[in-house]
Symmetry: C2
Subunit: 248 residues, 2 copies
């Protein structure tokens, strides 16, 4: 076999072992870490828009991120940002100062579930996820639990606004209590008329309802942009990290 | 000197040489890279809110990011996200389909200036920055130049909306042409009545004016959240990276 006929095979071998690929857009050779970092920037800033599963070449990257120091510390810094803002809010005596929390990947971590399902590399499977939810064993995100307690102490009314459905109310309450969350003002789940609505509409409507009841929503915490954008948005929004899935 | 009396000095030495500090919030020992990554997450998602200079311990981190592959490739991925969306837009014959670009750190890069001023670690100095702007030598961000050309080819009207002032119109046009940008529809700068307004208000007002003129603003590209949020927002917003400064 001549060197010339070996060349394509050598090239493939080189691409395979170095993990380098050629971007279709500008032909920059990019290794997986740089690629996956950029992909993460794109999804966390909402530039990416809708996506269904994480890129195959980023499974190890997402696993390392989610199970390592960085994810925990990123969440920590978001909580610190939130507390810093919360302390600037003048709490009135009327009991109308509110803070809205999403639940999944915001107060509770479903990481034990996603570890079994490739960290978001597999299409979402509602059946197995609902079975996991039924266990009511999702742990708290430690940074969010601290933030939650601190906000309550400061005098905020806490509203939990989740994409979960009414039939999951009991297990959700059970899980929240198991994880250490107590004394929320209201737990809002999707009712029959909310089914099928995009999360961003459903959540905006519920925030709007709270505002019409007279609550001022100072802060909103969520891992999805659909928790934070839309209408009736909070004065300040706090985006928690989540490179595992996207909900529109 | 006994070991006991040496202990505080040894401890200080250890903290100093390993770069570890203890977070005041949850007492996690964090090295500079993890800290600066989290700080970058916090500023790029807008969780941090207002900040004036980058943290002293992140100067090397920001320098490495801005001058390395990651920043260029992050911008590349944002451009790819933008093109993917732009191609889904049905361009009408009316000539009313618009795209809004910010200029600084979006179309033009002021990195040569910030390299001389500690990558954002020094307070903003208007005088020296305006002198740099007067040189009209800021290079294009390569990914944005490609995007700009592709959007024009697709039929979008391009609006340039900058925080720069009217007196900088000539040097700004000269710089844009020097960097390869041509045939924009309109260059909008701060007039006398826009001075002193927060960027988010000024830019929202100008987008609103465009909408009242009948333009549909499909996309908006900017390195600051104040380029993208507020009112009269574009259908889709694209956040470019910028860990060097924050404009509210």
């Amino acid at each position: 076999m001549s060197m010339v006929s070996l060349l394509p095979i050598l090239l493939l071998y080189l691409i395979y072992t170095t993990g380098e690929v050629v971007s279709d857009h500008r032909k920059i050779r990019i290794d997986d870490d740089v690629y996956c970092e950029s992909w993460r920037f794109s999804v966390e800033t909402n530039d990416a828009g809708y996506w269904s599963t994480i890129p195959a070449r980023c499974v190890q990257f997402v696993q390392d991120y989610m199970t390592g120091d960085q994810y925990r510390y990123d969440s920590e810094v978001v909580a610190e940002d939130s507390v810093r803002f919360a302390k600037t809010v003048e709490i009135s005596d009327s009991g109308s100062d509110g803070w809205v929390f999403d639940i999944d990947e915001t107060l509770l971590s479903n990481l034990p579930y996603y570890q079994l399902y490739g960290f978001g590399s597999e299409p979402f499977d509602e059946e197995s996820f609902d079975s996991w939810v039924d266990l009511a064993e999702a742990p708290a995100l430690p940074a969010s639990l601290s933030l939650y307690k601190e906000l309550k102490q400061l005098g905020f009314k806490i509203f939990l606004l989740t994409g979960r459905s009414e039939y999951q109310r009991n297990v959700t309450e059970k899980n929240l209590l198991y994880a250490g969350f107590t004394n929320w003002e209201r737990l809002i789940l999707r009712g029959p008329s909310d089914q099928g609505k995009p999360a961003i509409i459903y959540k905006s409507e519920k925030r709007s309802d709270l505002q019409h009841e007279g609550y001022r929503i100072h802060g909103s915490s969520g891992d999805q942009w659909s928790d934070l954008l839309g209408f009736a948005v909070a004065r300040r929004s706090f985006k928690l990290p989540n490179p595992m899935y996207y909900i529109s």
